[in-house]
């Protein structure tokens, strides 16, 4: 930079040109509200039910129960989040997790294999299913939406074949001992879910690969032109998704000691809702780990609260369904409102500039 004086002058000039600060406190409140709104909502729900039905809701036993029940949903939500980060869908997560659940119980009950095989093999299989999904998407160029809807259906079929449509139960103690183990007073599946969350935070927010995933999700072509190996990253998200839901499904089976083929369909929607709700908070507009955690628990506590108040059972399906739609609507509204505000500010600064030049001319 040869001419510093010209430069600083140009900077000042340019700063004036793009000065879009509107100084409104309202905008800041909206921003913070958008960022932590879901967390506030979660707290509000907890307070509401605690006051409403203190004896049943506001009890450690209830919290602990919800935490452990939600472990599997959390794992599936974390899994599905990875492809979502790069703008891909994986609808096979529910079926894949159910598959791991069935194999974990089935390998011990039907095959009588040792515990370590029943723990590890289902996870390996789930990961391979994720890899297969990824390969279908990047090599055969099938829309992930369609590809995983297909594989989800096929997986359901295969698990029905394996179980012969029978419920599996009675896993040996060698398995359930692991699934029901406690660490620091929390059930193992919950602890694993929290560890997964921590690992994902590191990968997605602090390692280069997370940045690359954000870039792919933000603009795939720009990412490719920046030298990012997009196909390999997309494949990795599907594989990671398979791994996580595999661990989740396996632990679920080990915890219950039982399995049936219909589990998958009950996992899919709460997990997706949680991930989408999560994308409206903490890092609005992006799928993120802490947001997903909040989203899943918000839904869980709403449902458990309503159950205890005594609403009928169908509410359990209605709430996540409607919440999913509302969450996505809210986040797209927030994005649009923000864009509109910026456009206004830009037009205002342009008019200001026009006025400036007219003044100068006069």
């Amino acid at each position: 930079m040869s001419n510093a004086e010209t430069n600083s002058g140009a900077v000042r000039e340019a700063r004036r040109r793009s000065d879009t600060s509107d100084g409104a406190v309202g905008a800041r409140v909206l921003e913070l509200g958008g960022r932590y709104g879901l967390l506030i909502l979660l707290i509000a729900v907890l307070v509401l039910f605690s006051v409403w039905i203190p004896e049943s809701f506001f009890a450690w036993q209830n919290f602990r129960g919800t935490l452990s029940q939600q472990a599997i949903i959390l794992m599936v939500a974390f899994g599905v989040m990875l492809p979502l980060c790069v703008d891909e869908f994986d609808f096979s997560v529910g079926a894949n997790a159910a598959m791991a659940n069935i194999f974990c119980v089935g390998f011990s009950v039907l095959q009588g294999w040792p515990a370590w095989v029943c723990i590890i093999l289902p996870v390996v299989i789930s990961t391979l299913i994720g890899v297969l999904n990824g390969l279908i998407v990047i090599k055969l160029k099938v829309m992930s939406f369609v590809a995983t809807l297909g594989s989800a259906t096929a997986l359901l079929g295969f698990s029905q074949l394996y179980t012969d449509l029978q419920d599996l139960r009675g896993a040996p103690e060698s398995i359930t001992r692991i699934g029901r183990a406690e660490v620091l007073g929390l059930p193992l599946p919950t602890v694993v879910a929290l560890i997964t969350a921590a690992v994902l935070v590191v990968i997605l927010q602090h390692l280069p690969v997370g940045r690359e995933m954000d870039a792919i999700g933000g603009n795939r072509e720009a990412a490719r032109l920046s030298g990012i190996n997009v196909d390999r990253r997309v494949l990795a998200t599907f594989a990671g998704c398979g791994l996580i839901v595999g661990i989740g499904g396996m632990l679920y089976g080990a915890n219950l000691g039982a399995a049936n083929t219909s589990t998958g369909s009950t996992l899919l929607l709460p997990a997706f809702s949680g991930a989408f709700l999560g994308s409206t908070t903490i890092r609005p507009g992006r799928f993120n780990v802490v947001g997903t955690l909040i989203g899943v628990f918000l839904l869980a506590f709403i449902i458990s609260g309503l159950e205890q108040v005594g609403v009928p059972v169908w509410i359990e399906s209605v709430v996540p369904g409607i919440a999913l739609i509302l969450a996505v609507a809210a986040s797209s509204w927030a994005i649009r409102a923000r864009a509109a505000r910026l456009r206004e500010a830009q037009v205002r600064s342009l008019t200001r500039e026009d006025a400036d030049t007219t003044e100068q001319a006069a």
Partner: protein, 515 residues
Amino acid sequence: MSTDVAVDDTCQGPGSATPAPGRAQSDALAIEVVGVRKIYGPTVALADARLRVEPGTIHGLLGENGAGKSTLVRILAGLERPDAGHVRVLGSVVQGHAAPGSAFIHQDLGLFPTMSVADNMALGNSFERRYGLIAERLTVEAAQRTLDRLGMTINPRSLVAELTLADQTAVAIARALHSGVKLIVLDEPTAYLDAEQVRGVMDILASLRREGVACLLITHRANDVLETCDAVTVLRDGATVVERPVLGMTPAELVRIISGHEPRQVDRSTRPSDATVVLAVKGLTTATTKPTDLTVGQGEIVALCGLADAGTHVVARALFGLEPIVAGTIEVDGARVVTASPRRAMRAGIASVPANRRRDGTAANLSARENLFMRPVLPWWRPLSSRRERRLAAELMQRFLAVPNEPDREMATFSGGNQQKVVIAKWWNTAPRVLILNEPTAGVDLSAKADIHRILRGYCIEHGVGILLVSSDFGEIIDVADRIYVMRHGQVFQHVESADCDARQLVAMAYGEEI
């Protein structure tokens, strides 16, 4: 809704249309645009646009890229609302949709490739029916009548995908006419056609004129204008600067009124005199460009200049691994390299700033910092340090005068010019040997443009980087390039020192006119 398509193939238009030389008619203008202004975000696309198109004439709408032609067309089509001014098409105010009786043919034509010509034509209007069901034979016959009327020899039963691009353009026009329109707006219909095909399309337009249909023709080709148009309107920086009849205009005059660029004196004292070659391309051939030789020296800015169909972008894409290379070699710093993909090109020391910022350059929902470090140059296990990144980003943005210097602001909240600065700054970190710039200042306001030019000059000298500039803005090329390769129809025709010519001559060379 007027369905008078079964007209005998005479020159007389249907019903109300007046015979051929009805140009003096002024009862209702086909298009009347007065004082139109349109602002997109931070850029003023149209400042004071004026346009009057008489019925039964072919009117050329000219101007350099970014002059506001496409914005004006979008407004005429009712796709955008003007911020000020008034717009009448065929006597009615445009509101939300195209005025009845007008048809817009965009560059991508909007045909359905897997359907037949007759079906395409009927889809825009209505199918012939019998007992309420589509009557295949009658539909084909109706299409045939329209095609005959325009003197086209296209089989209405053939699939659109099987036709040449010229015939597809003809079908698009026929479809518009099929519904009895009084105004056709064509956006660069001839950009990818050869001379023979262009003649065919222009003949069709001439026959429309005889039927009293008005045509607004957007084109970059001098011959289209001089041989076919009755009058022209020239836009420059969003304002109408020239409105005049074509009669008696010379090619040189046309070029001058389009470019309107007075040659500026540029400081080239810093230019290296004995530049070592950093990029050497020999016989580079792609599917659409002929063997190309070019060199770029250290600290030198070399431009590839040409019209939309000249192939300049294809060559640039091939160098960055985005276009298959049929033959030829590429050397960077004297070593032969293979650029089969962007990754490999980058490994070879070639970087490329894409032409379409929004589509290929930025992730709008990420912050400027994240855009700058989209692909962090770190081992995979090394955590990103946001503090370090923020510092580097602030430095880069300072160097490129990107404002506000707030690396954590979302990319979408920066103005176009500042976004472009970030997109260019992104490559700084990768320390390339050759930087390819595709339309680096398209849609960028004038002062940001000047910033970018000055920074690039300093950058390539300071780091000994060679810059290959691909731009359809000829004024920009004259301003910043040291040497210029002029391409026409996929081939380098001329190689000039920019000190030896001005924008007007460059336009002439690109068009292939001798002045």
